[in-house]
């Protein structure tokens, strides 16, 4: 804590904290308030007498109704959920096994391989989508959920592998050695001892992978074209921005509803998530 005069506490602690919280939360507030303001208020000119962008006295569900009735929003949510869950599961499975191998099996070049996997994570998606588009076309997967389920792991697996590798390294190796002396093969020691100890790490990797695939935009934009195949980020922006007309109400309502699953996942696992990123296992 900051010690000394009261002004020091305000200048070095309270005011920066308030600013920080304001900057972080204001966009969410804006999103929420815009979702519930009627169009009449949203498009009122800034110099009108009763102009008040930060509050509404006539909250409405019309934008949410519009989303579900006039667009495929429900379908987009299901698509996004399916794609995010399946690609996260695939990436976690591969990432856990690869992370374990890189952390624990002392095979030649394990260190360099780990670094190379991390470098693949650094290749920008905006470059990678070009060759991937060719591959998706060759396999005739375009405009199906599988085009994303199979391409998201290109960045999710390196990420999960890297995170899990670090987590496995933090688990005392004596645990595994003890299990192997106790009668477990390496595989059983991994399944019964190491993976249960790594649950916080696996949850963290899973949550981040889920969020990354939920929010992913460029692959979804390139690989999906028909309206009923789209994901939330692409669907909302392509169907609710027509030319230069922004349908602010439904756009913000879509963003609000689209962020709920991620928020739920985070809040549900937040304790594990934090310990996964900061803590290690003590024997």
């Amino acid at each position: 804590m900051i010690e000394g005069a009261v002004w020091r506490k305000w200048v070095f602690y309270n005011i920066p904290l308030i600013l920080f919280v304001f900057v972080l939360l204001f966009p969410f507030y804006w999103m929420i308030i815009t979702s519930f303001r009627p169009d009449g208020e949203l498009y009122r000119p800034w110099n009108a007498v009763n102009y008040n962008p930060f509050w509404t006295n006539n909250p409405t569900f019309e934008h949410i109704e519009y989303l579900f009735e006039e667009t495929n929003f429900g379908r987009w949510m299901l698509n996004t959920m399916f794609i995010a869950v399946v690609s996260t599961l695939i990436s976690l499975f591969c990432g856990v096994l690869a992370g374990y191998a890189l952390a624990r099996l002392n095979f030649p070049w394990a260190g360099s391989l780990g670094t190379m996997i991390f470098i693949t994570y650094l290749v920008p998606q905006t470059l990678l989508f070009i060759p991937l588009a060719q591959i998706i076309r060759n396999f005739e997967l375009g405009d199906t959920p599988w085009s994303l389920i199979l391409t998201y792991p290109t960045f999710l697996i390196p990420f999960c592998t890297w995170l899990m590798m670090g987590y496995f390294k933090a688990i005392p190796k004596e645990l595994e050695e003890c299990a192997r002396i106790d009668g477990a093969s390496r595989w059983k020691a991994m399944v019964y001892i190491i993976i249960p100890c790594a649950v916080p790490g696996i949850l963290s990797a899973g949550i981040i992978a889920f969020t990354l695939s939920w929010n992913e935009f460029i692959y979804a934009l390139v690989f999906l074209s028909s309206p009923d195949q789209k994901t939330v980020p692409v669907g909302v922006t392509s169907e609710l921005i027509r030319g230069d007309v922004f349908f602010w109400g439904p756009l913000m309502a879509g963003a609000l509803l689209g962020s709920i699953p991620v928020a739920v996942v985070y809040s549900f696992f937040v304790e594990h998530y934090v310990s996964g990123l900061t803590g290690s296992v003590k024997g």
């Binding site: 005392p172 645990l175 050695e177 002396i181 249960p196 003590k282 024997g283």
Partner: protein, 363 residues
């Protein structure tokens, strides 16, 4: 129950030769302690016996079977680790049951064995707790319990007491000793603490730089150390050493250093005769030095200056100096002396040690 035999065992980590030609024969039901400073290869040797490190060359036999290529799970050993290595997500009972489950014991047998081990170690009330809810001493007991339930051929201990505080360590040391007497299973114990080695071991293996220096019963190591390293490592406070020159004169052998001239007692002098005129290291334990009385012969006495007085209650440790050599003497607690006072110390002639200056081997 089994013997453990180690033949010409070597271990290389890349170009680093950490265990060199170790030969050992550990008898059935024996408690053997590997002791040495850190990096001496004792833990590596233990890990090779456990199967956690590959053997570079040589053989390891457990119960007459060469186990070099046998995976740890099939060696029928149990190991207690320094950090206990309790499975953090399992209860105490599950920790103890894990090894038995892996070996497909039936549930009734598992319960029976857990109950017996819990009784032996007095941890019955902890069975449903998780490791993080236990104190250091309790964790240590659970780790022991996990080893006991397996009923293995050999117990391996890798510095199991070094994470405990001093008082608990003494208590657990006694319990380990009792446990070994009760279970009578061949045990190999690694420690860097010579007190643990002396109190626990039926025999002690002293290692340095990957080489076994001496194998023997605790008192054998204490009384007749094979070389200067063993002499200095075993015993607390450590043995005093002084670099001396051996010389003949007046019909007897003398060990001389600046400010120091001691007549080498007859039985040792007879062994040393060939070394007269050469350099040597004189060794004498603090407990074999006393303040000289009128009856002490002059050739066994030397004058020192007191530098530090350590009052321990049951004894006084005097840090003293004679010329260029320093000596710690353990003396009667009733002695009254002051720093910088000059005293005469007498040595116990039967307990004098001499070591070759070059090879450091006992003469």
């Amino acid at each position: 129950m089994a013997e453990v035999i180690v033949r010409k065992l070597n271990k290389m980590f890349d170009t680093n030769h950490v265990v060199k030609d170790v030969d050992l024969h550990i008898r059935d039901k024996e408690f053997v302690v590997f002791v040495g400073p850190s990096g001496c290869g004792k833990t590596t040797t233990l890990r090779m016996i456990a199967g956690l490190e590959a053997v570079t060359s040589g053989d390891i036999l457990i119960g007459n079977t060469v186990v070099n290529e046998v995976p740890p799970m099939d060696r029928d050993i149990a190991m207690v680790f320094q950090n206990y290595a309790l499975y953090p997500h399992m209860s105490v009972a599950s920790n103890m049951a894990f090894g038995l489950k892996m070996r497909k014991f039936d549930k009734a047998e598992i319960q029976k064995r857990i109950k017996r081990a819990a009784e032996i170690l007095d941890i019955g009330q902890l069975l449903n707790r998780k490791p993080r809810q236990l104190s250091g001493g309790q964790r240590q007991r659970v780790a022991l319990g996990r080893a006991i339930v397996r009923d293995p051929k050999v117990f391996l201990f890798d510095e199991p007491l070094s994470n405990l505080d001093a008082k608990l360590r003494v208590q657990m040391r006694v319990e380990l000793k009792k446990l070994h007497e009760r279970l009578a299973v061949t045990s190999i114990y690694v420690t860097h603490d010579q007190v643990e080695a002396m109190t626990l071991g039926d025999r002690v293996v002293v290692m340095k730089d990957g080489v076994v220096q001496q194998v023997g019963e605790p008192l054998e190591l204490y009384n007749t150390p094979a070389n200067r390293f063993v002499a200095g490592f075993i015993g607390s406070p450590a043995m005093n050493f002084a670099d001396v020159t051996l010389s003949g004169g007046n019909g007897r052998l003398w060990a001389e250093a600046p400010g120091l001239k001691i007549g080498v007692p007859e039985p040792i002098a007879a062994r040393v005769n060939g070394h007269a005129g050469s350099k040597a290291t004189l060794g004498i334990r603090p407990e074999d030095l006393r303040v000289a009385g009128p009856a002490d012969p002059a050739e066994l006495c030397f004058e020192v200056e007191v530098e530090v007085i350590e009052q321990l209650g049951s004894e006084i440790l005097l840090d003293t100096r004679a010329g260029t050599s320093t000596f710690v003497a353990s003396v009667d607690p009733t002695l009254r002396t002051r720093v910088h006072e000059r005293l005469k110390l007498a040595i116990n002639p039967d307990r004098l040690h001499l070591f070759d200056a070059q090879t450091e081997a006992a003469i």
